[in-house]
């Protein structure tokens, strides 16, 4: 995919004062971010299941094919 870029760091300003209060909170947020990406990438790494490759192949045909 072509949108791997991360949001700009300046967006961190949007964090609430509560979140900025302690380094502990930042540690927790970093761990949550890591866990979220690990969980997500675990699925991404499975690639394209055959089911979907076949679906595209089946649909990607001239409309009248197989009708006559």
């Amino acid at each position: 995919m072509n949108s791997k870029k991360m949001p700009p760091r300046s967006d961190m300003k949007a964090d609430t004062a509560e979140q900025q209060r302690s380094g502990l909170n930042r540690e927790i947020q970093a761990k949550i971010g890591q866990q979220l990406r690990a969980m997500y990438d675990d699925v991404v790494q499975e690639g394209v299941p055959e089911r979907f490759a076949n679906l595209l192949k089946r649909l990607d045909k001239p409309a009248d094919e197989g009708k006559s």
């Binding site: 949108s3 866990q35 969980m39 675990d42 979907f52 595209l56 990607d60």
Partner: protein, 182 residues
């Protein structure tokens, strides 16, 4: 129909990430794959409305997100406590959550309101900018930012309080989450 090979390649390239998004939204692999299939069918049926040169991935995510939300709204009418029943079903059937090491995290994710969950995943895992996520969710950038922040705070509470011993790959993580030094 005959699909432009470049478009077909872009759709295929987006499938792995679409699946990850769908699984994170629905908490169920089978349902997620049905969502991805429905998304591909819709995309192919409406491929003429895709503007070449724009972000195919964002376009497909928008379709999938809208499909999920309309299905979610339908279920909500049938079952009043949609969020609660979802979380309950995950509790009684943890195998729906996939690999063991992520079950704790997925269960916590499932307890977030759908709008916070989708915002957090789009920005924190799919790699979309706040602006792209706002387009996908059809809301303001500021709304996405506040949803992501609320999702992060809520997750921190859920994971730290509920079951700190099961979260995180190592002792240091648990110590941090439990709020004391080693």
């Amino acid at each position: 129909m005959k699909l432009d090979p470049a478009l077909r390649d872009q759709i295929l390239a987006a499938v792995p990430s679409l699946r990850a998004f769908a699984i994170s939204l629905s908490g169920n692999v089978d349902r997620a794959d049905d969502l991805v299939q429905e998304t591909m069918l819709r995309a192919l049926a409406n491929i003429h409305s895709f503007q070449p040169g724009t972000n195919m991935s964002a376009w497909l995510f928008t379709i999938l997100r809208n499909l999920f939300r309309s299905e979610y709204r339908k279920r909500r009418r049938e079952v009043e406590d949609a969020d609660g029943s979802f979380a309950e079903s995950l509790k009684s059937h943890p195998e729906q959550l996939g690999r063991v090491e992520f079950q704790e995290f997925r269960a916590a994710l499932a307890q977030l309101p759908a709008e916070q969950r989708e915002a957090l995943i789009l920005v924190g895992a799919s790699g979309f900018s706040y602006e792209e996520a706002a387009d996908i969710c059809d809301c303001a950038v500021g709304t996405i930012k506040s949803r992501v922040n609320r999702a992060r705070s809520r997750l921190a509470k859920l994971l730290a309080i509920d079951n700190p011993d099961d979260f995180g790959p190592d002792h240091a993580t648990r110590a941090v989450l439990m709020g004391h030094d080693n």
